[in-house]
Amino acid sequence: MKSTYNEISFKETARQFRKEILEVIFEAGSGHPGGSLSAVEILISLYYYKMRHRPNEPDWSIRDRFIMSKGHASPALYVTLANCGYFPKKELKTFRKLNSRLQGHVYSGVPGVEFSTGSLGQGLSVACGIALGAKIRKADFKTYCLLGDGELQEGANWEAAMNAAQHNLDNLCAIVDRNGVQQNGPVEKIKHEEPLADKWNSFGWQVLEADGHNFGELKNSLDNFGSLKDKPSIIIAHTVKGKGVSYMEGQAKWHGKAPNREELAQALKELGFDYV
């Protein structure tokens, strides 16, 4: 895919993606809007700017790999992949329906999806394994892994963090969607993670921080990834859960709840769309 940075175009794409994410979840009657909306700019930065990939050749051997460890934000990934051309956009309305391949959590049966996830804490280990395999085989591709910040409460992530540093996986970039809110409240109130940057730094990672809704900052962080040899990188992307919809922003309640018709209409209006 052509990957020129175009902030104006990306912003418009983000607006469009937010609409489609909400429509997908509404149509299904269930899903995870909060964590899907917070990941939009991150996914656009990856799929439209940074990652090397081919929508018409999902198994291209030197494609960059992307592991969506926060598998519940599947609407965001599916919308991104459909818009890239991995599968027809009209399939989006089958999300979560019986016999659809758009399973409720990220599913490898969907073209463009590397790996099925949904149980938090597994993705980073797998991403490390992929990056390690690339080193062994001297294959020239990068591996990206998107994590939730609530997800970082799972100890397995820290096992993987140690692993990546130990094996100098500088071909690995993790991104934390630091939206600060988990299913039952703020992350810092439930099991606090600050100082988060310090933690990753002390584990031997290069830590980059960005406003997760600012394309310029995300671009800088992604460009910086790999500039340090022998260390894996992590981008702590500061985001807002439910970004773009005033009644969802920062709310735990919208972690895993679908909007009803009125709520959808209001959300779309806020995003600048008419709801028909």
Binding site: R65, G121, S125, G129, I130, I136, A156, A160, H167
Partner: protein
């Protein structure tokens, strides 16, 4: 006498020589699991990922994505206990080509005691779709099973034991995944055993012969997919079954066999297994006796089932 873990360690090296795609990850137990033989010869293909079984399995999954064949080795208790969620989703649901090695299975782990004595691996893994479960009866079989595991595509698990055990198969004994071997034929009842219990079953059958009870002995080396045909044939042809395993009664080989028997050709059954108890420290042989996993226990079960025919 040779342990299945020794045979596995040697076979892994041979495999490594033949196939450059084989890699090994370990949870800091490579000396005990004998994965260290591979480490010595192929240090660039071996990774000790530390005391982190979840990460070890996850890394193995990642490695398997582009054609490498990873063997992930730890003690069965920790491998399954600590990585189960990942085995369920990253390995089985994603149908990953990962070879899990659960060493130190059963009571014969000995003095280390209950926490290391895995008695639940069959039950825990049998319920996971796509998982292949192998339980070799002796060192020769462990060697064949290692090669066989590497050849199939998809999730696979093999349990290994710690102590040297009798060699009861031969070089040309066939090893076909999913096909039980008839170690000895008989008419009056069938003993379906796995792992070290096959040897005990053969001893029991010899003794029972002297008392004019003729036993067929089946080596069920593949727990999943279990050889239903052989089980049903045994039920039809001999009319009574005793199962024997170094594993909990609940959900082990006995339960798996009972399911096939009950659904197809019900006959009286008895089961020799650990009766819903954790293990404990002790010498291997003493533990097998205390927990009733010896030929004498199989003989007693056989006599009971024979009377129920």
């Amino acid at each position: 006498m040779k342990s299945t873990r020794d045979a596995f360690g040697e076979a892994l090296v041979e495999l490594g020589r033949k196939n450059p795609k084989v890699v090994v990850v370990s949870g800091d137990l490579e000396d005990s699991t004998r994965a260290e033989y591979f480490k010595k010869e192929f240090p660039e293909r071996f990774f000790n990922l530390g005391i982190a079984e979840h990460d070890m399995v996850g890394t193995a999954v990642g490695l398997s994505r582009d054609g490498l064949i990873p063997f992930a080795c730890s003690f069965a208790a920790f491998l399954i206990g600590n990585a189960y969620g990942l085995i369920r989703i990253a390995v089985c649901y994603n149908n990953s080509n990962v070879k899990l090695i659960g060493a130190h299975s059963g009571l014969t782990v000995g003095e280390d005691g209950a926490t290391a004595q895995c008695l639940e691996d069959f039950a825990g893994l049998n319920v996971l779709p796509n998982m292949l479960i192998l339980s070799p009866a002796d060192a020769l079989e462990a060697r064949k099973a290692t090669f066989a595991m590497a050849q199939v595509c998809g999730p696979a698990y093999m349990r290994l034991g710690r102590t040297p055990c009798p060699m009861i198969t031969e070089g040309d004994t066939p090893f076909e995944i999913g096909k039980a071997n008839i170690m000895r034929d008989g008419r009056d009842l069938t003993i379906i055993a796995t792992g070290i219990m096959v040897s005990e079953a053969l001893n029991a059958a010899k003794a029972l012969e002297k008392e004019r009870i003729s036993c067929r002995v089946l080596n069920m080396h593949t727990i999943k997919p279990v050889d239903k045909e052989a089980i049903i044939a045994a039920a039809k042809q001999t009319g009574a079954i005793v199962t024997a395993e170094e594993h909990q009664l609940n959900g082990g080989l006995g339960s798996i066999v009972a399911e096939a028997v009950c659904l197809n050709h019900p006959v009286p059954m008895e089961m020799v297994a650990v009766r819903d108890a954790f293990g404990e420290s002790g010498d291997a042989e003493g533990l097998l006796k205390k927990y009733h996993l010896k030929d004498l226990d199989i003989i007693a079960a056989a006599k009971r089932v024979f009377l129920r025919k």
